[in-house]
Symmetry: C2
Subunit: 227 residues, 2 copies
Amino acid sequence: MTAQRHFDEELSTLKERLLTMASLVESMIFKAVKSLTEREEPLIQEVNKDEEKVNLLEIEIDERCLKLLALHQPMATDLRFITSAMKINSELERIGDMAVNITQCVEVLIKQPQLKPYIDLPRMADLTQKMVKDSLDAFIKNDADLARSVLRSDDQVDGLKDQIFRELLTFMMSDHSTISRALELILVSRHLERIGDHATNIAEDVIYLVQGKDIRHRIEEKRVREK
Amino acid sequence: MTAQRHFDEELSTLKERLLTMASLVESMIFKAVKSLTEREEPLIQEVNKDEEKVNLLEIEIDERCLKLLALHQPMATDLRFITSAMKINSELERIGDMAVNITQCVEVLIKQPQLKPYIDLPRMADLTQKMVKDSLDAFIKNDADLARSVLRSDDQVDGLKDQIFRELLTFMMSDHSTISRALELILVSRHLERIGDHATNIAEDVIYLVQGKDIRHRIEEKRVREK
């Protein structure tokens, strides 16, 4: 096998492993929020088991990237692709951590009566799962437009987070007994927000990769101005 | 100049720039918390200006790393050092973001009377600043023991965060009018906690780098067991 062909095969395995990791963390977000809405404790254990798999995958992917860099000494585009893969790998692992953090809130919440019907949290969860999926697809397909759609979804996620915050603040203000549950729900929304942030980091890396210039901070500056 | 000497010089510039970035984000943490304790609005603007510098530094350091990888095609230790530098660069930038997030809470807080004397938040800020400094020093000096001390500090930071949470919960429960201020203070403590997490990520990378094996998830697993 030629060195080039070997490199291409290794690169395609790397992509496949990243997609596997992305699906796994997506399902963790789904299970974590379902454990809340359906009050299903076994799902909490599943998320914890999934996290172990994510941790092993992270190490494996990191090693694959280092091997690709060391053995094939890629240039330009391939080099950027592999260093981006290393960053994306970290982001995915942290998304898994956030799903675990959500289940820690759920453990507290399902011991008490449900405070209110959950509408916005599942919507946030759906949005963030899609952001994870789309940001990874954008990376694999080199698709800057898809990556940009992730940035737009992040604005929606932030909007929902603010809405949840205001709503729960009203609950707390009008009824003492809701404070500790409302706080846990606010934390769940913050963890989902952070998942959105991690997916956004991935999407910004993709746009950087495709356009070869750094949009990360231009976007940030724009956001700061808009606030 | 030989290629090796050129590489060594580039590497030492890279280290120096990372240290510059670390000092900058440390000072941002300091200013953000001081803007709260001293109710000094101009410090908020300073932190926002510092963030622009951090963003430029992040791009510069990222480019330096890519150039080192592309032009010198380093092997083994140097390769791991440079890919770690890229990760650490992202962590530092996010620490800067957290300092900005703190100032957003401060903007709300200083418009209202101070809820209580601030004791634990400045302690958290001191601890996290030291964690940032030590994790970077550990990286530059290849010092796994110093990196391990950062992990221990993180347990202290988490302890303070829990303490602050319990205290503010009591405030909210006993007096409605404190709820919105207490919530903002809880958020400040969460941002500081995340700064501690980012410094911990750096420290774990350093231990990995020094020991050549992945302790990241062993540490995590230990933590999960202890919980």
